[in-house]
């Protein structure tokens, strides 16, 4: 296969869909963009982007621990992500009010310990080190049809669960004190959202890698929230941006043979910077 870029967009597109691995990558990328942008929207509203990053880092001990124990990799991903979410939930609220400094210390410690465990598992396993980079940055090429189906299932479940708790979760995220006074179970919702986020991130990180998860979840949502304060509009913009990001990055990777991660993160940063500048202009 020799990807050749021509001036004819139709033949370029035909080329993209010609290989099964590209079709799988496009399918997986589309699911990730849809689900990731929706969950990421709440991550941004709740100011939990550090938590989101840390939960995606959980994939590293998850994968290396599962390899060491001889279990399927996916079980390790999900187990460690949920364990991390519960550890963060248990540690981050010491009192009635949200303490940002305690929370960030807990999240950072959980992340560092997870990476230390991952490195320990990896050296016990004695596996090949190159897989570390695949784990961190993903590989668009190696996605099977079975993985796409699993991803679609987890994505659909996560979206349904999110829809079920969306209203009270938004209330609790925007005005915690009022929600608490209204009898909304703020603490339970926070834990439920963390677990949901952990499951989604574990599913996504298996496909796109640990470090890109953030660019696909948080960046589109943050960009959308810079552009509009209306809920429906910013959700729609977030999903649209995430889709553009994934599709454009996959196409660019195919034609230029440079790592997918570089394009995804560059496009994400570009959109965010533009939105930030637009907002600054409007307010000055």
């Amino acid at each position: 296969m020799n990807p050749t870029f021509s001036a004819n967009p139709v033949s370029d597109l035909n080329q993209l869909f010609q290989y099964p691995f590209m079709v799988h990558a496009l399918q997986a990328g589309t699911i990730v963009a849809l689900v990731g942008a929706l969950i990421g929207w709440f991550v941004v509203v709740r100011r939990e982007s550090f938590v989101c990053h840390t939960l995606s880092v959980m994939s590293f001990p998850g994968a290396s621990g599962a390899a060491l124990a001889g279990l399927p990799l996916a079980s390790g991903y999900f187990a460690f992500a949920v364990a991390g979410a519960l550890a963060i939930a248990a540690g981050s609220r010491a009192g009635a009010r949200r303490s940002l400094s305690h929370e960030s210390a807990v999240v950072g410690t959980v992340g560092a310990v997870a990476l230390a465990l991952g490195f320990l598992f990896l050296s016990l396993y004695g596996g090949v080190l190159e897989s570390v980079e695949t784990l961190l940055f993903g590989s668009a090429v190696g996605i099977s049809a079975g993985q796409v189906r699993t991803l679609a299932l987890v994505g659909a479940l996560a979206a349904i669960a999110l829809a079920a708790i969306a209203r009270p979760l938004l209330y609790a995220s925007v005005d915690e004190q009022a929600a608490r006074a209204d009898g909304v179970p703020v603490r339970a919702l926070a834990v439920a959202f963390l677990v949901l986020l952990a499951l989604a991130v574990a599913a996504i990180a298996q496909i796109v890698g640990v470090l890109l998860t953030f660019a696909l979840l948080v960046a589109p949502a943050a960009t959308a929230q810079q552009l509009t304060a209306r809920i429906g509009a910013s959700l729609a913009i977030a999903v649209a941006l995430a889709l553009i990001e994934v599709w454009a990055a996959l196409a660019l990777t195919y034609f230029t043979n440079v790592a997918l991660g570089f394009y995804v993160t560059t496009i994400a940063l570009g959109f965010y910077a533009l939105a930030h500048a637009a907002r600054k202009l409007r307010h000055s």
């Binding site: 010491a94 210390a105 660019a215």
Partner: protein, 277 residues
């Protein structure tokens, strides 16, 4: 154990880096900037790979990139405190650049990138050597001295930025200087415990200290002491147990300190908050 030169080098560099990270970490946690610290330590990976791709000494890329990014974070936010999302997006991009350099390095030098990548990500305190460990110790001592010198105004600027500004404290400049210090510390620690694990020394001992005391100077001392103890115990454990990498051992010990402190702090919560248990 102390007769071995690589252990002595590791203890020398490790102790200095631990004290610097413990002191800085106290402020990182107090200012809720752990994510910024995390980002600075992760981009060290890109720095190392960039200098590898260009064929330079690893440390040039490390220090240049972490300091540049620290200044960028300072410019992004009010009072030099950028919000999580801006940090995250910029930092994801720098990691994306890291992948690009990895590709370039792969195609130019071939093969050895796995080892270099793993070394940059996880460090190896036993492989430092005498010269680099002495340099690391001197830089860390400089960091400690500067941090102690600005500790008082930095504390003021952190706890009450508005009043500090009114009293003529240069809040923004202090915040920027602080991020640069954390950046230099990240580049330092990357050589010892690795880009991914540096956060363990920055967040865990300081988080534990914050759980145990509210007094700032006692907290700083405690944080530095816990970080130092983590490095010593970690190195000793890793020396005894061959399969345990030193970086993992150090961070796991630091994490254990944090858990112990959280349990102790939890029991000491006042009765009025008891319903939260």
């Amino acid at each position: 154990m102390f007769a071995l030169p690589f252990i002595r080098d590791a203890l020398l560099a490790g102790s200095a880096i631990a004290i610097a990270s413990g002191l800085l970490g106290y402020f990182v946690v107090l200012r809720a900037q752990v994510f910024a610290g995390d980002a600075l330590s992760h981009v060290a990976f890109t720095g190392a790979l960039a200098s590898a791709a260009a064929g330079l000494d690893l440390r040039i890329g490390l220090f240049t990139l972490t300091v540049a990014l620290a200044l960028a974070f300072a410019a992004l936010g009010d009072h030099a405190r950028a919000d999580d999302v801006s940090i995250g997006v910029v930092f994801a991009w720098i990691l994306g650049l890291g992948v690009l350099f990895l590709d370039l390095f792969n195609s130019s030098a071939g093969g050895s990138s796995g080892i270099l990548g793993a070394r940059a990500l996880f460090g190896s305190i036993f492989a430092l050597g005498a010269g680099p460990s002495a340099v690391a110790a001197i830089v860390a001592l400089g960091l400690i001295a500067i941090t102690l010198a600005v500790a008082r105004p930095l504390l003021f600027a952190t706890l009450d930025p508005a009043v500090a500004l009114a009293r003529g404290v240069p809040v923004g400049a202090l915040g920027a200087l602080f991020l640069v210090l954390v950046g230099v510390d990240a580049a330092e620690a990357t050589q010892a415990v690795g880009a991914l694990l540096m956060l363990g020394l920055l967040a865990a001992p300081a988080g534990a200290a914050h759980r145990l005391t509210v007094s700032p100077y006692a907290g700083m001392a405690l944080s530095a002491a816990l970080a130092l103890a983590s490095v010593w115990i970690g190195i000793a454990l890793s020396y005894r147990i061959g399969a345990l990498p030193p970086s993992s051992a150090i961070v796991l010990v630091a994490g254990a300190f944090y858990v112990l402190a959280a349990l102790a702090g939890w029991r000491a919560l006042p009765r009025s908050l008891g319903w939260m248990r």
